[in-house]
Amino acid sequence: MNDPRGDFGAAIFTGSHDGACDDGGLLRRIGRGDEDAMAEFYREHGRVVLAQVLLVTGERVLAEEIVQDTMLAVWRGAGSFRGESSVRSWVIAIARRQTRDRLRSRRLRVVDDAFLADQPGSDPGPEVMALDRAELAEVMGAIRKLASAHREVLGLAFGAGLSLAEVAGVLEIPVGTVKSRLSAARAALNQILDEKGQNR
């Protein structure tokens, strides 16, 4: 049977991050004040961190500022990395804290957002879903309309290349909750697409 997801090979179009060993060395160099290492770190992680922050905040200028603050924190705190997580999840966790502080200062209703994130999904199950017939641009547009907690977990799992365990570490929630949140995000996405389809 043909793989319905295409015959191009999954590895071809999947972004990967396999520089974990080098990352540790990079951080040690950054800890010694090596600016070239910082520049290399930026190239390695900057775009992914920016994409994740932008996904959550939806504001380019704010996201740029948060990334800059995150990299500043890396520059200052590289020596504190203890190797208990991957460098990618470590830097994203820093970015998440920076984002949370910025959003909190704006008094956004993050509590309601987090509550919504873990509500049971209402996916119709095996029958045809709006996702099945949606174009990519529609899916991207619908993701932008999700609650920020949904966008965040989707970005961590599918954009930043973290494992579910790493996502759980960044969000400081159990793996089971990550899975529930992802399912809730997909259900909300499907609902947005469904409503859009009915309004056409």
Binding site: F13, A39, Q68, A157
Partner: protein, 320 residues
């Protein structure tokens, strides 16, 4: 996987397997075996793939970000100010665009910094390369092998090219994707097609190598408004979709292909009568900032290949 070790046919993949698969992470052989024979799980996997593709699509569309210079740790207070200013300038895309593109070299880096509005009034020196000059502006017209560009100051400058001048162009140039052309596509999988983020026409160019994509090379066939068919060297036919967001890069163009109004970055040596004898020219039409965008180069290795790589990197700079 919700499975009896003895039976892979009837029990379906669990969410973790489906999510891991969509995230591009490895799943067990047993799960893969089940997926190959279970239409229900395939549908679920495809749905998760679509969600993941949407996230990756947004990530791919995320703008580049400024990479500010790092001062010493002793001046960390100043550091924060400089980093923040760089970010603020980067965000003000209507007036300015800041990008630092780095190309790793064993001997150092070639850096390009775009900023604006430009303050130079004429040809400016390339930092670190005493004999090189640069001119940035808007292309007024092409006269044979010469380009007349208007600087931000309004002053016209003639940029001359020869057969050895590296000329690249980029933008929403889907009309340059023609049947029979060799192309390199960078995009993301969506269902059975590839949504192209960047298409390089002609010889692949190492500077066009942003992270997050892996290249797929082949020959163009069946060009249509919404895309084309890519025929790989093994004969596999891959459907590629393009849109107004697709960035097309022609790394080896001729002056005659350049359209008036595009933003020109040229680097070369002083010619007679105030002209610039160009070693490399980048014609970029994805910037909306027009003549307000300028470029200053810091080049440790002043070789022609370094200049080509540096200007080539401008081709994949995000739209301002």
């Amino acid at each position: 996987m919700n499975t009896d070790p003895a039976d892979t046919r009837h029990l379906h993949l669990d969410r973790e397997d489906l999510m891991a698969s969509a995230a591009g992470q490895p799943v067990g052989d047993r799960a893969q075996q089940h997926l190959a024979s279970c239409e229900q799980c395939q549908r679920e996997a495809t749905r998760w793939d679509r969600v993941a593709d949407g996230v990756r699509g947004l990530a791919a569309a995320a703008p580049g970000t400024a990479e500010p210079a790092l001062p010493s740790r002793a001046s960390q207070r100043a550091l924060q100010g400089r980093w923040r200013r760089a970010a603020l300038v980067a965000g003000s895309v209507a007036a300015a665009l800041v990008l630092l593109a780095g190309i790793g070299e064993a001997t150092g880096f070639v850096h390009i910094r775009l900023s604006g509005p430009g303050t130079q009034t004429y040809l400016t020196a390339v930092t670190g390369c005493t004999q090189l000059l640069q001119a940035d502006g808007t292309l007024e017209h092409v006269n044979g092998n010469s380009l007349v560009i208007q600087l931000a100051s309004g002053q016209p400058v003639t940029v001359t090219t020869t057969a050895s001048t590296f000329v690249s162009m980029s933008g929403a140039l889907t009309s340059d994707i023609t049947d029979g052309a060799s192309v390199e596509v960078r995009g993301y999988r969506y269902g059975g097609t590839i949504a192209a983020a960047i298409v390089t026409v002609g010889q692949p160019f190492s500077a066009v190598n942003p992270s997050g994509f892996v290249p797929l090379q082949g020959t163009v066939s069946d060009v249509r408004t919404s895309g084309f068919t890519l025929v790989t060297s093994t004969g596999t036919r891959v459907q590629v979709t393009t849109s107004s967001e697709t960035l097309v890069v022609v790394p080896h163009a001729s002056p005659g292909q350049l359209q008036a109004g595009v933003t020109i970055f040229a680097v070369g040596r002083a010619g007679p009568d105030g002209t610039l004898a160009a070693e490399a020219v980048a014609a970029v039409s994805q910037f909306r900032s027009g003549p307000h965008v300028s470029v200053s180069l810091k080049v440790k290795d002043c070789s022609p290949s370094s200049i080509e790589e540096a200007l080539g990197a401008i081709s994949v700079a995000p739209a301002g």
